[in-house]
Structure formats: C-alpha cells, structure tokens
Amino acid sequence: MTFMNGASHRCDGVTRRDMLRAGGLAALGFGLFDRLGARAALAGQGGASARGFGTAKSCILLWLDGGPSHLETFDPKPAAPSEVRGPFAPIATSVPGVQICELLPKTAGLAHEIAIIRSMTSPLGEHGIANAYLLTGYKPSPVLEYPSYGAVVAHVRDGPRVLPPYVAIPEFRATAGAGFLGAAARPFATGGDPAKADFRVRDLDFYPGTGAARVERRRAFLSQLDRFQQSVEGSPPVADPEFEQAYRLVTSPKAKQAFDLSDEEAKVRARYGPRTLGQSCLLARRLVERGVPFVNVVNNGWDTHEQLVLRLRDGYSGAQVGVGLIPTFDLAFAALVGDLKERGLLDETLVIAMGEFGRTPKLNTNGGRDHWPRVFSVVLAGGGVRGGQVIGASDRDGEGPHERPVTPADLATTIYTLLGVDPDRELHTADGRPVPVNQGGKLIQELLV
C-alpha cells in the first residue's frame, strides 16, 4: 500500500480504495494496525522521508550474543566511581569529543564512519526474550513467533538468486529465524568455522562419490518422474523453486566460490584477524559483494558475569597481546567497515553491531557485570547512516537513558527503513492473520544521512 498526501485517508492511513481492494475481513476492521507512529515519523524532513525509504542493498548484522557491556565498549564512564568505571580507560576517536573504550583503537580511528546509539532501552533482561526483541523488533509472544530482520528481508526481496538471501555465519539463534514466515525465509547457516583452514559450508559440496554430472542426472531423473506423475494425475506441473535454487547453488562454481575464503589474498585475511569473528566478517563481505541482502554473523561469549579483564581483553590468562572479545571485535569490525569503504560498498551496505542488552553499571563480586537492559549501546555504519555521531546518552553511571531513549522497536523500524522495507507492510501468518513488519517503532530520523 502506498501513502498519498492529500488523498482521502482513513484514520489508519489506509485509503478508501485500499480498503476496498483489501476487501474481505478488512471491512470489519479486523487486522488493520496502527500506522500512525511510522507515518508521522516519515513525515519529518529530509533523509529517508524525502526518498520514501532507504536504499541500502545489504545488511551485515554482527550479533554479539550474551549482551556486550556498554561501559567497556561504546559508552565509557571515566568520571564514575571505580566500581562503575571498570578496569579500562577511554580513548579519543576520529570524531572530536567522542570517546570509546581503549580496547577499540581501530574502531576509534573509523568513528567518523559510524553512529553510536548510547540510549537503547528495553525492559527485557533475560537472554531468550531479549534477543527475540532485538532480533525481530517485537517483544516475544507465546502465540506467534515473529520473523527476524533477515527473514523479512529474504521474504520481501524477490527474484530468483543463486545465493541464498539470508545467510547466518556460522549458526543462528532460533530467534533470528523465520518465525511465522516459514521455511523459505529461514536463514541458510554455513556451519563450520570460517577461521579453520578446512572450512566448508554445510551441504554445499557434493556428497562423496557423487559430482556435478550425477547431480545433473538426478535432477533430470527427478523431473522426468514428476512429469510421469503429472501426466497420470492430470494436474499441471508443479515447480519446486527451492529445489531449483539448491540445484543452482551446488552446481554453480561461481556461487560456491563466494564461500571460499582461500580465494582472498593473505593480507586481506590477516586484516580481519585470524579468529572466527574476523573470518566470518570477511565471508560476510564476500557475500554482500555478490548481492546477498542479509548476513547475520554470530559471535558468542559476551555474557560476561565474571572476570572482565580476562574475558574482554586478554582472552586467556597471561596473554601478552589481548585476544579477548573486544580486541577480536575491534579488528574484525574495523576491517569490515574499512574494507567495505575502500571497495565503495559501504554506502549500500548497512553494518550493525549489537547484542541483546548491556551490563550492570556496578561490577559484581566476581569482577563481572550482570544483565542490564535499561540502557545499552548499538553501533551502525554505512547503508545510509550518517557517521561520526552519537545519538542519545546514558546517565552519569550508565544506568538509564539520560536523553533520547531508543527502543528496540524504534531500531527495527529504522533498520527496515534503511533497507528499503516499508515498516507498515503487512506480512501474513500461515493462517492469514496480517502482521506489520514493525509495530510501534519510531524512525530514528537523525541517524539517516
């Protein structure tokens, strides 16, 4: 449905003609949803509203599973008492006046490319429901599984492609799945460890003893069998687009090459760092380069209830050079943003790094921090995001939003808008219930270029 200023609106933003076209139960007012929020937001000036929706072609979501500490990453509190301040110091960035954690030196050098939201806020502090909220933009419901961003993008971007539209590296959280959109929108998980020399994508290589010629023959046999059957049934041929996509993928050397990291020069591989997150980001870059619209890179271990120094910086006890979560992230994230920029892909690729919540401002007795959804940080770059800015702020000790609170639903609407997906667009559950892509989110207008 399109919005037309001046046309006869119903109060829900649906024109009368749309109403007639939608027909059926719509006339009973069943299933029409509140569009006012997003519509009002889009009526703002400039940015996405001028173009309607954003034009990012792809999105790479770095999912920092477990909930990264905002205080040790993008929202340091050097002036806070020591039990809040934590073990690390802030450093300056390429944007005057903006400081981030000292463990992020490479990212600090690229601060002019990224936007930091320091006032994310959510009421959900348990992993399962919190990552559902952050990955779908909906608070989880016991009666309906909502689709994740990647699933929605896979669902609305049409046209046959050889590469799958939604790829998870190496695995995905159940809440990053297809929800009610069903199997066709489910992410394709590579499996394996991209940092390993023998990394192979699950089920992409021919089964031992078979090969392209035999797969081709099997496809021919199968289509002949189905033709025999159809001639008996008297029904028209039924296409199986998913089988055809699988066939095109496994028989296309070019498509398979997209997953082959040995294709990259050694110095490029080194730039991303030798660990799983870095090589996953490199693989994500290869995929968006080849037109994959959504890649979810999953990085585990951010649920740091204890030993922040060991987990976040060192990686193992006695490390001379830190290889913990944050240095690994810094290397990978800065390489990804920098590499995309140099290749001219950053403007059309939205990069997001986030987890499901932040951590308690006060250190606990184990030298760690516990779950803290009241305020946390998310960073975005490229894809129509205006870099070099900080949106919102937490209060003095990082306990709550000080200004411009942003909800996960707001973030969702913004992500969809940047990716050119109308947040009001209606999706349908298997039993036909209409559900909008996003509900209740307000566009973060200042985030947009």
Binding site: H9, C11, D12, L28
Partner: protein, 728 residues
C-alpha cells in the same frame, strides 16, 4: 459542502474556541411523538456500519484521537458513556445536534483523521441527529432476540446474477424488523461475490460456492451463494453410497455440478489407508495378501485390521501428542515419556475421547507418574491453559477475546478470562496441585475474573471448577467438542478439514458441508466418542475411496471431494518411509535401536533427519501444518547424509540387491513397489531401460561402477519425487 453546512461548521468553530461546555447532562427524551432512536440497538449499529468502532479506528484498545469505542459495539454502556458523558458531554450538542462532534467529524465538517465515513445527508446521520435532538437518551433495556439474513443459502445459474439480501431482527421477541440498512455484510472473497453496500444486493462474479457474513450488533451469521461449476447438471443418483457421508458429499457435488473421479485402484487405496491409519507404507506381504484377496469386503477388513494394529496406536499417539503440544520441559524428559505411555494406553484400550478429555482437564498429581497431569504443565499459565483448551477441545481461537470481545465469534472478554479463571488455581510444577487460591485479572473490569464456562454460565469463585467445565464440554449436547474432534479426524483422512483452519470453528467461518459436520458429530457422540468408529466410518466411505486423479471437469475442485487430494506426508512419516524403502533404519540418539521416527513423541528428541524434513516444533500446535522445505533442507537432500548415506550403504537394500546379482528391471520394480506401491508403467520401464543403457555405455569394470551409480541416482530421484512424498 453546502452553504448551510458551512454555517454549522463556522459556528462550531466559535463554540470550540470559546471552550465552553456545549452540553450538560442530557435531559430525558420528550414524552410525546415517535420514540427516539434507541442507543444500544439503533445508534450503535450506525457506528458499526460506518466503521467508527472498527479495530483500526476508535474501536482500537486505546481508542483513537482520545475517543474510544468498544470494538464493533460490544459494550453499549461504555460507548454511551464515551459519547454522551466523557469530556463533559462535549461530543454532543443538544441545542444544535448537527454541530455535535460525533456528527461533525465523521461527516467531514470538521477535520477528521479517519476520512468521511458518514454521509451528512444519509440515514445514519439523520438517526444520530434525531437521537441527539431527543436528548441523547440511552433508552430502556432492549435485547436482540433473533437475527437472520435471507436467503441464508442460494443457488444462482449464471455469473453476474444478483440477489437481494434482507436482514431481519427481533427485539425482546417482538415483531420482525428489517435492519438491512444497519447490517454489515462482507464477502469472504470479494472477487467472487460482490456485496453492494447501498443496495444490499449480492452479485456472483464467478463459479463456486461463496460465503459472506452478516453482522448486526453482537450477532454474526453466515450466508452462502453458489454458482454451479458447469452449465450441465450431473446425475449422481446411481453413484454408490456407503452411508450419510456419501449422501452429503454427493448432494453438494450435485448442486455444484461436479463429476466424481472413479474409485482408486487397490494399490492406491492400500497406500493411502496405510499412510493415514498406520503412518507408514504397507509391507510387501500385506500388499500381496490384499491384492490376492477376491472378497468384495476386503477394503473394510483391511481398515479393521489397521485400526486394531500397534502401528495405529504408535502413529495416532504422535498425532494426538502433536495436537496437545506435548513436549519435554527443560531438564525434564521423564514427564513427556509418561505422557506418551498414558496416551498410547488410552488409544490402545479404545478409551472414549470424552473420557480422555475429562482426564486431561481434571488431572492432578506427580507428572512423572500421572500421564494427563502433563497437559497442565504444557500450559505456562492460566491464560495459556485456556487458549490450549480452546484450541484442542473447542476448536476455537478464544485468545482473540483476551483484549477485546472476539470480533468474529461469540466469545467475550468475560468468557476468555472466565475460562482462564477455571485453571487459575493450578500449581504447574512437577507435582500438579490445586492451590487454595489463584485468580486471573479480567482485563475488561480490572477485577479478578469470575470463573465461567464460555458462552454459558458463571461458576462458583470458591470452587475447583475443572470438573464442572469438563462435564459441560463432554456432554452429548455440547456444540463444540464433538465437532472440533470429528473435523480433525476428517482432516486427517481427507487432507483438509470441513472447517479450515481446524482450530477456528465459528459461525463466521462456515464448514464446506455444515450438515455433514453436524451428522458426523452426532454420530461420534452416539458411538460413545469412539475415535476408531468415526475413522472407520470415514475410511469406508466411497468418498474416501475415490482416485486422486482429476477429471478435466473436476480438476478445479479443492474442497468438495469429487476426488481425493494429494497431500505431503509428515516429516516423521517421510523419515520412516525413506528408512523402510532403503532398508537402512535411522538410529536416533538416546533411543533404543529400531525406534521409528513416528515413535519420537517428544519434538525435542534429537533427530537430525526430522530437522531436515521440517518437524513441528510445537511452540504452537501444528494442525497438520509443518515447516517442510527451505533451502537448507533441499541442499541436504541433494548433498547431505540423510538420503545419500542410506542409498550408498553397503548393507542397504540397493547394494544388497546389486551384490545378489539382481537385474536392473528387478531392482527398479522392487523400489517402485516399496516406495509407490505400484510397478513402473510401460513408459517408465522404457525410460529407465534407456537411461540404464546410456549410463553403462562403457566397458568392463567401469561399467559395474557406472551401473551402481545409475541405480543410486534412480533411487535418489524416486525418494525425492513428488509421488513418493505425497499421500494421494
């Protein structure tokens, strides 16, 4: 806009600017003259008709623009307060009714976010004016006692035919009144049946049986209009009939002028009935015996044998478990196993389904010892429990009534929260107990909900009401339980329910065959709620025995049963079929060898094969629907272990046959009969012969390998073919 309207608008703006209350508490209606419009029964329908109280406008839970009406007029008292009393009565202007906000906004005199839904010169606006002019009275209590739309069912004989619709209401059992103008009639598919809102005429746009629903106040009634699918009548008088199922099906087919496909042959019937009742392919010895049997009642005897088999118990335990959303809880695999054994015992022992329901609804005790106590643990809380009960036993989506009265069904918020209150005292730990207290809040009243049998009566707030609810549910005259159950049995055997979706039985979602559903339900009750009785009844019908092969004239039919419908087999059944045909059993983690996939009652039991094939996660009940497919699944079928490993296994059926020196023709024939329960056709035989020759056009030992590879590819394509994966 007329000059007069301008005047009204201008003066109204003045009134608003002065910010003076324009209406005091309304005076009583004048004692003389015609009675003013009655708020509850004559004004509310105007608002509904104009869409004011729709869910997207002022009927939203939070209202709109500060003005909230009850959804579709479900709460007239609240609506009266909102219009007449809120904001110091500023929404009506007794001195100048036309200037009332409640009129000026929807007629477009004042800016209104929701368009101009009410014609300023129309009858709706006039009624509002008359009502306000009369002092905007609520009026005496007046109850709608009857509502019908005529004709409720009609047949027309050409596209473009129109027929007038007339809605009749009686209040307090008084005289019939024509309320057509205030009734909202909506076609299920407006591209098939157009309803003109001003002339109240239905126009049939294409062939088929089309439905519409008519809403007036709290009543909704369905109506159907049929345009036969062919110009020439068909005569089904001489079609064989096994009972009322065939009578009803053939009657509808006669109206629709749909010819029937011939009976399925013995092989097709046998494959179908095995898959439906036993969840597996027929073994070759059973097939041979059946084919060789010359007796005319052999199909009926085959059905009886299957209904008495262990395979039936195993498969239907899975089916019922899926319906009940049975699944292990985190860290507790014992409860679900106890649940499975109990359910299997009920099915094996032929326990009547009303008794099964009563046990599920009233069980308490240790869920590691008392099977049905696990039903309580499936639900996370009382509301979830009520929704599960609605889904399973009422075939109804009562959850819609959580936040507002169900807009398409009879359920109210009081029904929903009242049913939840029945289960509010249950403690849902490993040991299920009934606590001394426990309540749910009725969102409408913000008070503890009064326990209630939905749509029926309130219960004692101080009692454990589960037995009372179970007794009501399983009574012979209960309109939901038997219907919901037989509809699911029908769905299991015919691939779709008489009502679809099977958990959405309501007046506004009519069955394709309403009389048949009634008769099946009555028959089920009369049999003592015997699942096997109804399954036998259905499987023995001529309707069930029809071929899935379409005739040119019935290819379009997808719901009237002029032929059988092919449907995908479920993931558990598909996994077992692959294992049986290839002769390589699955070994599931933590399960004894020989465990079949259909015996994996717990959906969380590790089973990669089922994940690939897409099993139901049971987060919500999967009524037949499963998440089959997806690119990863197809990739796995192409390159993964599930099928490839079984085909290539040295001790699997294919390589054993090759090693034993079987001919291509023998191997192909054996796989055909095991997988498809038929031999290859002449054309298929020729095709495989040529393909084999092409594959082995090499000398010596290379030929041996090439032949084995050809046969592997043949089996692979067979196991991935549409015919194999379908039950038809």
């Amino acid at each position: 806009m007329s000059a007069a309207s301008f005047l009204v608008a201008a003066s109204l703006l003045v009134a608003v600017a002065l910010d003076s209350p324009t209406a005091a508490a309304p005076a009583a209606a004048p004692a003389t003259g015609p009675a003013p419009p009655h708020f509850d029964t004559e004004i509310v329908p105007v608002l509904t008709r104009a869409g004011c109280n729709a869910g997207a406008c002022h009927g939203a839970a939070k209202g709109r623009g500060g003005f909230r009406l009850s959804l579709l007029g479900g709460d007239a008292a609240a609506d009266y307060a909102a219009i007449v009393q809120e904001r110091e009565g500023r929404r009506i202007n007794l001195a100048w009714p036309e200037a009332s906000l409640v009129l000026a906004k929807p007629t477009g005199l004042l800016d209104h976010g929701g368009d101009v839904p009410l014609d300023a010169d129309g009858a709706g606006a006039k009624r509002l004016v008359d009502w306000i002019a009369a002092g905007a009275p609520r009026g005496p209590p007046r109850r709608l006692t009857q509502f019908e739309v005529n004709p409720p069912a009609a047949v027309v004989l050409h596209a473009g035919a129109t027929l007038p619709l007339r809605a009749i209401a009686r209040f307090d059992n008084g005289p019939a009144q024509d309320v057509t103008a205030w009734t909202v009639i909506t076609a299920a598919d407006p591209s098939a049946l157009a309803i003109d809102a001003s002339s109240h005429r239905a126009t049939v746009l294409r062939r088929g049986q089309h439905t519409a629903i008519a809403r007036f106040l709290d009543r909704v009634v369905p109506l159907s209009v049929t345009l036969p699918l062919a110009d020439e009548p068909v005569d089904h008088a001489s079609q064989p009939r096994a009972g009322f199922v065939d009578d009803e099906i053939l009657a509808t087919l006669t109206t629709l002028r749909l010819p029937v496909s011939p009976p399925a042959d013995d092989r097709a019937f046998f494959r179908r009935v095995w898959l439906d009742l036993a969840g597996r392919l027929p073994p070759l010895n059973e097939l041979a015996t059946f084919l060789a049997d010359p007796a005319s009642d052999k199909r009926a005897r085959a059905i009886d044998r299957l209904l008495a088999s262990d395979a039936f118990v195993e498969y239907w335990t899975l089916r019922l478990g899926r319906l009940l959303r049975a699944a292990s809880l985190p860290g507790d695999a014992t409860g679900v196993e106890i649940y499975r054994r109990w359910l299997a015992d009920q099915i094996a022992g032929g326990v009547s389904f009303d008794e099964v329901a009563r046990q599920l609804l009233t069980a308490t005790g240790d869920s590691h010892r008392v099977g049905p106590a696990n039903f309580v643990r499936t639900a996370t809380d009382a509301r979830d429990h009520a929704e599960l009960v609605g889904h399973v036993f009422l075939g109804s989506r009562i959850q819609c009534a959580n936040c507002h009265n169900h807009p398409l069904d009879r359920w109210t918020q009081d029904d929903y929260h009242g049913l939840a209150a029945v289960f509010a005292r249950l403690e849902r730990g490993r040991v299920v107990t009934v606590a001394a207290r426990g309540a749910v809040t009725n969102l409408r009243t913000a008070e503890p909900a009064v326990p209630r049998i939905p749509g029926n009566r309130d219960l004692d707030p101080n009692a454990d009401n589960r037995a009372a609810f179970a007794a009501w549910l399983t009574a012979a005259e209960n309109p939901y339980f038997a219907r919901a159950t037989v509809n699911r049995l029908w769905q299991a055997l015919f691939g779709r329910g008489l009502v679809e979706p099977a958990d959405d039985l309501r007046a506004t979602n009519p069955a394709t065959h309403p009389e048949l559903l009634d008769r099946l339900a009555a028959d089920f009750v009369a049999s003592g709620f015997d699942l096997r009785h109804t399954l036998r009844q259905l499987a023995n019908s001529e309707t069930y025995r029809r071929s899935a092969t379409a005739l040119p004239a019935n290819a379009v039919d997808d719901r009237f049963y002029s032929r059988a419908y092919a449907r995908p087999v479920e993931p558990e059944v598909a996994a077992d079929m692959i294992a049986d045909v290839t002769g390589v059993a699955d070994q599931f983690a933590q399960q004894p060898p020989g465990t079949r996939a259909v015996a994996l009652f717990d959906p969380h039991a590790p089973a990669p094969a089922l994940d690939v094939l897409g099993r139901c996660s049971r987060v919500s009940s999967c009524d037949g629907g499963t998440a089959v497919g997806g690119l990863p699944a197809k990739l796995h079928l192409l390159n993964g272990e599930l099928v490839n490993g079984k085909i290539a296994a040295a001790d699997g059926r294919l390589h054993r046959l090759v090693d034993a020196g079987a001919s291509d023709e023998a191997i192909i024939a054996e796989f055909y009969v095991r997988a498809l329960v038929r031999g290859p056709s002449e054309a298929e035989r020729k095709f495989w012969q040529d393909a084999a020759a092409a594959a082995v056009a090499q000398p010596d030992e290379a030929a041996t390998r090439a032949r084995a590879q050809f046969l592997e590819d043949f089996v692979w394509s067979l196991l991935n073919s549409r015919e194999f994966r379908m039950n038809r």
